[in-house]
């Protein structure tokens, strides 16, 4: 089956306007403009497209929450891809640029938005300029600006560069960042659909989500639902990294198993045995590499039933030699650095988790510290304004759930019967230590 999202793998230079229009580009927007905005929303709702940024919320439903009011409305494209293990949006931005622009324009038409901002992470510096050039081509062709496609709808599209902050991928923090404020989350309600950017109705969608929209409009909701499973329809990009033979992006219909995905990416690197999987980067709980997990279909509901999350489908593979205490500390260092500092449980919790985990890793701790990090993580849950405060607890709690003995082995090396993973006498220090 040809790729629907990673079309650059089938058609060279599909990301440029010239090639894109030769391969059916802008048929989706043309068709959308012949429909009423409400009809466009109905098709997307019926397709059951679910947000690809991680939350998996119905995209059509999100659009339908925008009130029919006069005055400016906004679409914000979340291109602040920063989750460790995620690099799918980057490939769309770089190589299937026009499909993203068209998807964002269809969304903007559906909610009758006046401006689209693409929030590109600052590190995607050149990609942002390339996106601007493609936006200009779409503008020259009449798809952006005044009276688009001869309709009475007008819309602008701009790129806004972030500057290095994971938290700005959180939608309300992203809005603050565009407004020139600190990138910290907002209290909700009000939700962005009602009061978002500059206090106006706003839809925030992930890059991959919007890239799904043009083919849905062209081919219809029934076509889309024929791909994937009933509750998780459509194609999905899986980012494969870590101990995998062929790292990279793979597009598959939702519903294939972890086993099929790992085989597609060449299996575990060096023929090693699989120890653990992070299905959605550092934010989703770790899963052990058991047959039960390997045979689980990659859908939102099936991965959730295992106690983890499909999230953005950034799959990090950990082989049999991986030290789980080390891996957990690595992830906690990330969350401690990226906590924006607004909510005390997250700010202080990530700090203390790092402190005590570091003590465990350096064999300066006791068994009580293992219990302590578990207690701290549990107390952080559900107590912050955004999901980062909860994400930060998942590496700790899931590692303790499946590999608790490895933590004990660090604090009681003599008594344990569990063999700590093979380590060099002087392990490689973590950067910054």
């Amino acid at each position: 089956m040809p790729n629907i999202l990673l079309r650059d793998q089938d058609v060279p230079n599909i990301g440029t306007y010239e090639v894109y229009v030769q391969h059916g580009g802008y048929e989706g927007l043309r068709k959308a403009l012949s429909m009423s905005p409400k009809e466009v929303i109905a098709v997307v709702k019926d397709s059951n497209l679910r947000g690809r940024g991680g939350a998996g919320f119905s995209t059509g439903m999100k659009w339908s929450f925008v009130p029919d009011v006069d005055g400016p409305k906004y679409v914000v494209v979340n291109a602040d891809e920063s989750e460790p293990g995620t690099f799918k949006d980057r490939q769309i931005l770089e190589k299937n640029t026009q499909q993203l622009i068209e998807g964002a324009l269809i969304c903007a038409y559906a909610i009758q938005a006046s401006t689209i901002y693409v929030y590109v992470r600052g590190e995607f510096w050149d990609i942002g300029f390339q996106l601007e050039r493609e936006i200009e081509k779409a503008r020259a062709a009449g798809w952006i600006g005044q009276n688009i496609g001869g309709s009475n709808w007008s819309c602008e599209m701009y790129v806004h560069w972030g500057a290095g902050a994971y938290i700005c991928g959180e939608e309300s923090a992203m809005l603050n960042s565009i407004e020139g404020k600190l990138g910290q989350p907002r209290v909700r309600p009000p939700f962005p659909a009602v009061s978002g950017l500059y206090g106006r109705p706003t839809v925030i969608n992930n890059v991959e989500t919007l890239a799904n929209v043009p083919p849905i409009i062209v081919n219809g909701a029934a076509w889309y639902k024929s791909i994937g499973t009933e509750k998780s329809p459509g194609p999905k990009i899986f980012c494969m990294s870590g101990h995998i033979a062929k790292p990279g992006n793979y597009e598959l219909p939702l519903g294939k198993t972890f086993r099929e995905l790992i085989e597609l990416a060449g299996g575990v690197r060096g023929g090693k045995k699989l120890k653990a999987i992070l299905p959605s980067g550092a934010s989703g709980p770790l899963l052990p590499g058991t047959d039960k997990v390997l045979d689980t279909p990659l859908t939102y509901e099936d991965v959730a039933a295992l106690g983890s999350t499909l999230g953005s489908a950034s799959v990090i593979i950990l082989d049999e030699d991986t030290d789980m205490v080390w891996a957990t500390l690595k992830m906690i260092k990330f969350f401690r650095h990226e906590s924006c500092g607004k909510c005390t449980p997250c700010r202080e919790g990530t700090y203390w988790l790092e402190q005590r985990l570091k003590a465990i890793y350096e064999r300066r701790a006791t068994r009580a510290d293992v219990e302590l990090i578990e207690s701290v993580a549990k107390q952080m849950q559900g107590k912050s304004l955004c999901a980062l405060g909860d994400f930060a607890t998942s590496p700790v709690l899931s590692a303790l759930k499946y590999w608790r003995d490895e933590f004990y082995a660090y604090v009681e090396p003599v008594k344990t019967t569990v063999r700590a993973p093979a380590r060099k006498a002087v392990p490689v220090a973590m950067a910054g230590d």
């Binding site: 690099f87 500057a163 407004e179 020139g180 990330f334």
Partner: protein, 166 residues
Amino acid sequence: MLKDKYAEQITKIFAKYPDKRSAIMPLLYLAQEHYGYVSPEGINEVAELCEIDPTQVKSIAGFYTMYRETPKGKYWLQVCTDLPCALVGADKFYHDLLDYLGIQDGDTTPDGLFTVEHVMCLAACDRAPMLQCNFRYVENLDMEKMKALIEQWRAEAAAEAQASSD
């Protein structure tokens, strides 16, 4: 002055947003380009352009990692050492690079050419080890490639110094 050097760009930036405050981030990038870092003068100029207190601008500059609050080396190398990169040797690569240049974590070489820092995920996990050099990605690295790059950059800098003294 930013407003003279970048007049056209500044007008374009303000046209993008309904509120002047939104221009703080893009203007800080201009200040950084002009002064080499977000200097106190740069902060004040951005504040004046956005009609806002300099303290507010400084808080934004401090919140994000891509604004340098101190001058850095000519080549600002930021190595990703997050979990996916670390699983394929990014920590070792980072320390080898520091050793090769004879500096510590976050330091600049005495000749002012290289600053080396470790950073969080750069969304290039499938091409690790990797780094960002002055906002450009360099991927699929090892120390052999790195040494060749360093030589190339040294030569580049020497040629530029030569050209400017001629």
